[in-house]
């Protein structure tokens, strides 16, 4: 069963609705004791990474999150929180991945936020992308991106340049796109995560 970490950063109605539609059981984590009720975790998040980190810190759950050893998936800003630093709000983050979250540089012909369906190319073998064809479209909406790193990038997307569409290190995963809004492949990814 998936435990969703509640820390007040954004609406999770669409995520929980999608899990319900897929028949994936979930519950909410508000205290450290809640972690042991679940065998995997989702860190959701929308909005400002610095503000989200501040809210996460105020829950007191940060040490427990950093010590998690079960599959853990950060979504959108929840993924950015896993990195060491974001230019958004000049914020230090969880540092579970020694890579940075940066603002899209102004580039002619590329608008910010990066909004819409873009292609995702897995770069490593991993069950998270099982039964998802390479180059499938996922729904993105973000102004900051996680830098590409051959060690940690699980899948990449191109927008002005190549960046991390998803990252993977041990039991930690992050996806920049919104699987709960990404059609059947997004649903497949959530199903895959529920079985990792």
């Amino acid at each position: 069963m998936i435990g969703i970490i509640r820390y007040g950063a954004g609406n999770i109605f669409s995520l929980t609705a999608t899990l319900e539609r897929l028949g994936i059981a979930y519950g909410m984590i508000s205290t450290e004791a809640d972690f042991e009720k679940y065998d995997r975790y989702i860190i959701p998040g929308v909005g400002h990474a610095g503000a989200a980190m501040h809210k996460l810190e105020s829950t007191g759950l940060v040490p427990a999150i950093k010590a998690l050893d079960k599959p853990t998936l950060g979504i959108c800003v929840g993924m950015q929180l896993l990195t060491s630093y974001s230019e958004e709000g000049d914020s230090n983050l969880l540092d579970l991945f020694p890579i940075k979250t940066l603002k899209f540089p102004h580039t002619d012909g590329f608008k910010v936020p990066h909004t819409g369906w873009n292609q995702v190319f897995p770069e490593k073998e991993n069950p998270l992308f099982a039964n998802i064809p390479t180059g499938s479209h996922f729904y993105f909406v973000h102004s900051y991106f996680i830098e590409y790193d051959p060690l940690y990038t699980l899948s990449s997307t191109n927008y002005t340049h190549k960046f991390s569409a998803s990252i993977w290190r041990g039991n930690f995963y992050g996806v920049q796109f919104h699987p709960e809004k990404s059609g059947t492949y997004g649903e497949q990814l959530l199903k895959n995560f529920s079985k990792i």
């Binding site: 609406n11 109605f13 669409s14 609705a17 999608t18 319900e20 539609r21 929308v46 909005g47 400002h48 102004h106 012909g109 608008k111 910010v112 936020p113 990066h114 909004t115 819409g116 369906w117 873009n118 292609q119 479209h137 729904y139 909406v141 973000h142 102004s143 191109n158 927008y159 919104h178 709960e180 809004k181 990404s182 059609g183 059947t184 997004g186 649903e187």
Partner: protein, 251 residues
């Protein structure tokens, strides 16, 4: 590559869709959730719901509709109509809406854009602009194009962007309902002037019109209502032809 988006627009009133819808395979053509599901299955990239019954007592019906859509639909959707304050937007966000669209309220109170962007992020805020040519100028109109304002459209769009609009939904009232094609000249002008996504609206009558708007203007998305509702254009056919024309679309 980032795909061009195809966006059906549904007008809802008291929780039901209005304007005729002509999908033969729908049990209830007035049910916005079923219609939305049908569009998502056809390959629509996003949906816009415009609530034209935006009185206070009708808002609760809308919230229930938004929740029902969020439960059933696996693509992003936007809600517009009658949003005048943070509390309206907050309720829609918590019901599962991905974005909200504001139009007249933003013209009357431009600071609303700043407030919404600050509270929820720019990605949540679409500013919808209805434009009509008066003399040789594009002028912002309210009330479905009936009421001219003193704002020139491009100036207003640039102001909206600077205040925190994450996207612009631009409807040409001169083209809307004509089925004669999008206003590609003005869309090009607007699209080149801003650094946020632009959704073209008004004038779609044929598949070629979508090819034209993407080839001639480089806008990010095209929105239409009746050509989809009446089944005159089927989204899979539209996307196949866009692809043949080397326009990137989601398969």
């Amino acid at each position: 590559m980032l795909a061009k988006r195809i966006i059906p627009c549904l007008d809802v009133k008291d929780g039901r869709t209005v304007k005729g819808v002509n999908f033969v395979d729908l049990r209830d053509a007035g049910d916005p959730v079923e219609l939305a599901w049908n569009y998502s299955q056809q390959g629509a990239d996003e949906l816009v719901f415009l609530d034209i019954s935006a009185t206070v007592e009708k808002r609760k019906t809308l919230i229930e509709l938004v929740k029902a859509v969020a439960r059933q639909i696996n693509i992003p959707f936007t809600i517009g109509g009658g949003i005048t304050e943070i509390a309206d937007a907050d309720a829609l966000l918590n019901a599962g809406a991905d974005k909200i669209s504001i139009n007249s309220a933003a013209v009357r109170n431009p600071a609303l854009i700043d407030e919404l962007a600050k509270a929820f992020g720019v990605q949540f805020v679409i500013v919808a602009v209805d434009t009509r040519v008066m003399g040789d100028k594009n002028i912002v109109h309210l009330n479905g194009g009936r009421l001219p304002t003193d704002k020139q459209t491009l100036d207003w769009i640039l102001e909206a962007e600077s205040r925190g609009a994450g996207e612009i939904l631009l409807t040409s009232m001169d083209h809307d309902g004509t089925k004669a094609g999008f206003d590609n000249g003005f869309l090009t002008q607007v699209n080149n002037a801003v650094n946020i996504p632009v959704i073209a609206s008004g004038g779609a009558g044929s598949v070629q019109h979508f090819v034209d708007v993407f080839q001639q203007t480089n806008v990010d998305a095209a929105l239409a209502a009746s050509v989809f509702h009446y089944g005159e254009i089927l989204i899979p056919d539209l996307k196949a032809i866009l692809r043949e024309n080397n326009i990137e679309v989601r398969v």
